[in-house]
């Protein structure tokens, strides 16, 4: 197992390099560069910032150099921990991401826990009560979460929080704690607000996991070793949770590796709609305006999360299911 992990980690590096080149090129694809898109935006309000004024800025950020040189400049910096400057925010990329990473992970992990705590039991329940009315209604609720676009759900959540519960509109803190230093009441305030994004982001994922768990349970419940377990005199509760769920949950574990990066990138739209101080809004804006180094570093972070997530999923799968040999 250990050699397998080491080998996979070594193979990570070439994949990351390829991904970094790919992302760097793709960020460049839209027409013009950051300053062109900025000039277009300013031009909408009739400002006529001259072309040359931006050329000076382009030189400062090496944008006038050929693409491969820019890439080397960026990658060279990344290796030494200097991830470059954001054109828009005029701040080192490391700070911008660093400040927001904590909350992003808290939210993403919160959504992951929410998904698992909700989807698994409901998946098991609807598998045991297949085609009963409760199964249909649970499926209906799951699919509502899936079919309404998450930006509409986020808006509805904010609408409910403001107009029905009289809370604040979006964000992770109420007004008085927003800019205060971290303190215990601030943490409570955060938890008070965190459930809205966690539920909204988790909605789509919950529906998927619920259905997958149901199918996986149905598949396992008909296997011979379930009858054997019953014939051994095990109580039904044990038969379900020790023998059926223990096998049925394996596919879920293999998806978990994918879910964390999915949650982080999936939460972008919701973070924008709810105005959350997480990485999402900054990332979307950086991609939209080709804020090169900020967008590139985000994408690399996501790529690393993804690769480690996949590796984690494979390892977990092997640990959980003895039948799987990791060659």
């Amino acid at each position: 197992m250990l050699t397998y992990i080491v080998r996979r980690l070594l193979r990570l590096i070439p994949t990351l390099v390829v991904i970094s080149i790919m992302t760097f090129i793709i960020i460049q694809l839209p027409p013009g560069d950051f300053f062109d898109s900025l000039q277009a935006q300013l031009a909408e309000s009739e400002s006529r910032a001259d072309q040359q004024a931006f050329d000076a800025l382009r030189r400062q950020y090496h944008l006038d150099e050929p693409l491969w040189k820019q890439y080397l400049f960026w990658i060279g910096g990344c290796v030494q921990g200097d991830f470059g400057y954001s054109f828009e925010w005029r701040r080192p990329v490391a700070d911008l991401i660093g400040e927001r990473l904590g909350l992003t992970f808290v939210m993403s992990l919160g959504s992951l826990v929410f998904m698992w705590v909700v989807a698994i039991p409901i998946g098991i329940y609807s598998a045991r009560n297949r085609l009963s009315w409760s199964d249909y209604s649970l499926t209906f609720v799951a699919f509502i979460g899936l079919c309404i676009p998450n930006f509409v759900i986020a808006l509805i959540a904010m609408y409910a929080s403001v107009f029905w519960f009289g809370g604040s509109a979006g964000g992770l803190f109420s007004q008085e704690y927003k800019y205060a230093a971290w303190s215990l009441p601030k943490v409570w305030d955060l938890l008070g607000h965190l459930w809205v994004p966690v539920v909204v982001i988790g909605a789509a994922g919950t529906a998927t996991m619920m259905r997958l768990m149901r199918t996986s349970m149905l598949d396992v419940l008909d296997r011979a070793y379930i009858t054997t377990a019953r014939a051994k005199g095990l109580a039904e509760r044990w038969v379900i949770y020790k023998y059926a769920v223990r096998v049925a949950i394996n596919p879920m574990i293999s998806i978990m590796g994918m879910q964390i990066p999915q949650l982080v990138s999936g939460s972008i739209i919701v973070a924008i709609v709810l105005g959350l101080p997480t990485t999402g809004p900054l990332f979307y804006r950086a991609l939209e305006t080709q804020d090169m180094y900020l967008a590139g570093t985000f994408l690399m972070l996501l790529a690393i999360l993804l690769l480690l997530g996949n590796l984690l999923a494979d390892i977990l799968l092997a640990l959980v299911d003895p039948r799987i040999r990791l060659e």
Binding site: P30, F143, L155, I156, P251, G257, L287, L317, R323, I324
Partner: protein, 364 residues
């Protein structure tokens, strides 16, 4: 237990599947609904009382108007009231029923011309006699005074087809690549998994922006729409591939797979006769989940002005209206397209479940 199976073996595998399938009433209902939905797509021109772009100047934001049978002077053929306008203090135009204007519902009414299989016709299944002001607004109108029901019916053409084609491609890709990757392992697995990672790390937003810039403005809608479907499905198969691979890794050591291999079955036969039926449950679940995701992904593209352009529309585009507080506060009916998506996806889901149960050798 084995007696039941034995008795049935004489009835043939697929005949049996149909017997079990028929037993599942919900699946039958779903099947009927889906058939209706797709019929709706073909005959949207006839069904929709108006064209997708028919604007009623003074009828912006009309709430859904029902059909009425009873009026002050007793029973009538189903009719729609004429509407009178008034502006409340916030500047919002409100509509009240004008008791003395009644438009009786006509079957096979004349209305906007629409093309059907190549020839033009202005025949509509139902409607009211065309007047400048009033119209038949069963589901209300949008910001530009266009009938929402007609736009939903026309939107179905895009959403239901894009949902189906896109999902089919990504499911086929995901299932086959996932199974082969799990079954063969070694370098095949390595190659497929690395491609999966590459595609999932793919920044989609700049890609769409670059595409919207690359497509010349006058390319016709149909090709750009098919191209989008293709790209969406090429990026969409990765999650199914991961799930299926995980399952196949554990199935691979099951005895029925080894037994088949022992009997000298070719890899292809093992995969298609044993492994794919083994992961059928997962494939169907992911496929039904992919339908709404695909429909909504199309709307995100339209928002980045790459997808559907006026006058064509889709359910996803219609839902873009739901993006603001005013719609939530005043015009909630504009979210109705989401209900159509839910109904479609539920039907797909129950149909899929029933199909999975029927084809699965294990379940009674």
């Amino acid at each position: 237990m084995s007696e039941i199976n034995d008795a049935r073996s004489t009835a043939g595998q697929w005949q049996l599947a149909w017997i079990k399938f028929r037993q599942n009433r919900v699946a039958l209902v779903s099947g009927v609904i889906l058939a209706l939905m797709y019929l709706m797509t073909v005959f949207s021109g006839f069904l929709a009382p108006y064209g997708p772009d028919h604007r009623f100047a003074r009828r912006a934001y009309v709430p859904p108007q029902g059909l009425h049978l009873f009026a002050s002077d007793g029973l009538h053929l189903p009719f729609a009231y004429g509407l009178s306008q008034r502006v409340d203090d916030t500047g919002r135009t409100l509509f009240d029923h004008d008791p003395n204007i009644r438009h009786t519902l006509q079957l096979f009414a004349r209305g906007d011309t629409h093309s059907f299989l190549g020839f033009e016709t202005d025949l509509h299944v139902f409607g009211i006699e065309p007047t400048a002001e009033d119209g038949l607004f069963l589901l209300g109108t949008d910001r530009q005074g266009r009938d929402l029901l007609s736009r939903i019916l026309y939107g179905a053409r895009i959403s239901l087809t894009i949902g189906l084609i896109g999902v089919t491609i990504s499911v086929i890709l995901g299932a086959v690549l996932g199974v082969t990757s799990g079954y063969f392992g070694g370098w095949v697995d390595e190659l497929v998994q690395r491609t999966v990672e590459m595609l999932r790390a793919f920044p989609q937003i700049p890609l769409w922006m670059a595409l919207s810039a690359a497509i010349p403005p006058d390319v016709d809608q149909i090709t750009s729409y098919f191209m989008i479907t293709l790209i969406l499905s090429l990026l969409g198969w990765t999650s199914l591939a991961r799930i299926v691979r995980g399952k196949v890794l554990s199935l691979r050591s099951e005895e029925f797979v080894m037994a088949a291999q022992l009997m000298g079955a070719s890899h292809k036969r093992v995969i298609f006769r044993h492994l794919i039926p083994g992961v059928l449950g997962e494939i169907i679940v992911v496929a039904t989940i992919a339908v709404p995701t695909m429909i909504l992904a199309e709307s995100a593209l339209s928002f980045l002005n790459l997808g559907i352009r006026p006058p064509m529309t889709s359910w996803g585009v219609l839902l873009q209206e739901g993006r603001n507080l005013t719609t939530l506060y005043f015009h909630q009916w504009l979210l109705l397209p989401a209900l159509f998506i839910v109904i479609t996806v539920l039907s797909f889901n129950f149909l899929g479940d029933a199909f999975r149960d029927a084809a699965d050798p294990y379940t009674e």
